[in-house]
């Protein structure tokens, strides 16, 4: 096996292990920290896919921002977190569903033979970020999704500020 394959195997084992620990941990803060490990593992997976831009964005957006938002939310709502069991009555059924889905998909993927199209390595001059940048603002490319993304972000900002903002007279 090549070195890259070993990197992939180790990274994916860590990712999946951290994801399992995340689901299994009782304290929400531990779950968040395990989620951080899983996200880091996914960043390494992106590196093996030669998508450095997304590996770095994974770090920047998921760990740097989303995870911190989750930690703040956990801190804001901590009072009720330690009480009660962490899984609901559907847990066994859910485990069954998830297990069946994964087994079935894995079976399909192992049996599935990719057609023998020859693969070619890409040239050294290849710069994916420039391509992405051009496509995002190209009127025939993805200009509309790009603008819609900004409207979506605006809507999320306004909506979340409106919902979370403590109005007078209410609040703890």
């Amino acid at each position: 096996m090549s070195a890259l394959q070993w990197v992939f195997i180790i990274a994916s084992l860590i990712t999946v292990g951290a994801a399992v620990m995340m689901v299994a941990s009782h304290r929400m803060m531990h779950a968040a920290l395990w989620l951080a490990v899983a996200l880091l593992g996914v960043a390494v997976i992106f590196v093996t896919l030669e998508a450095s831009f997304f590996a770095v964005v994974q770090l920047l957006v998921y760990i740097g921002a989303i995870l911190i938002l989750i930690v703040f939310a956990i801190m804001l709502t901590q009072r009720s977190t330690e009480a009660g069991s962490r899984l609901n009555s559907l847990a066994w059924g859910a485990a069954g569903v998830a297990g069946v889905i994964w087994t079935a998909l894995t079976y399909v993927f192992i049996r599935w033979v990719v057609s023998g199209t020859p693969m070619q390595e890409l040239g050294a001059s290849f710069d994916d970020v420039v391509l992405l940048g051009k496509a995002l603002v190209d009127a025939e490319g993805f200009a509309v999704p790009f603008e819609v993304a900004s409207v979506l972000l605006l809507a999320a900002l306004i909506g979340a500020v409106y919902i979370a903002f403590e109005r007078k007279g209410e609040g703890s």
Partner: protein, 106 residues
């Protein structure tokens, strides 16, 4: 050279774990973390297909990258609003456990 199926199996595993968290956990934020995991699985899939499709074509393709970027935007917006809702619900009901919340009609 890593076979494409390895990525798909990993992504399926992450997706299933996320799905389990969404179905089985009682804490609203834990459910949200499950959703994050599922979105990550989707991104692994998208970028894996992007990588192999680019190699088949012999030139970098742009679609997969744009989709992955949009998933990041989506994840950010979804987390922001969902956590705001959770915080707001916590302020009214003093709980973040989903099945308790649905009983209390605010």
């Amino acid at each position: 050279m890593i076979p494409l199926s390895w990525y798909l199996i990993l992504s399926a595993a992450l997706f299933s774990i996320g799905l389990f968290a969404v179905l089985a956990r009682r804490h609203a934020i834990a459910i949200l973390m499950g959703i994050e995991l599922m979105l990550n699985a989707v991104n692994v899939n998208l970028l894996a297909f992007w990588h192999y499709w680019s190699q088949v074509k012999g030139a970098p393709q742009v679609n997969g990258m744009v989709f992955a970027a949009m998933i990041f935007v989506l994840a950010a917006a979804e987390t922001a609003v969902a956590l705001a809702l959770i915080i707001s619900a916590y302020r009214r009901h003093h709980t973040v456990v989903v099945d308790e919340m649905s009983l209390l009609k605010g």
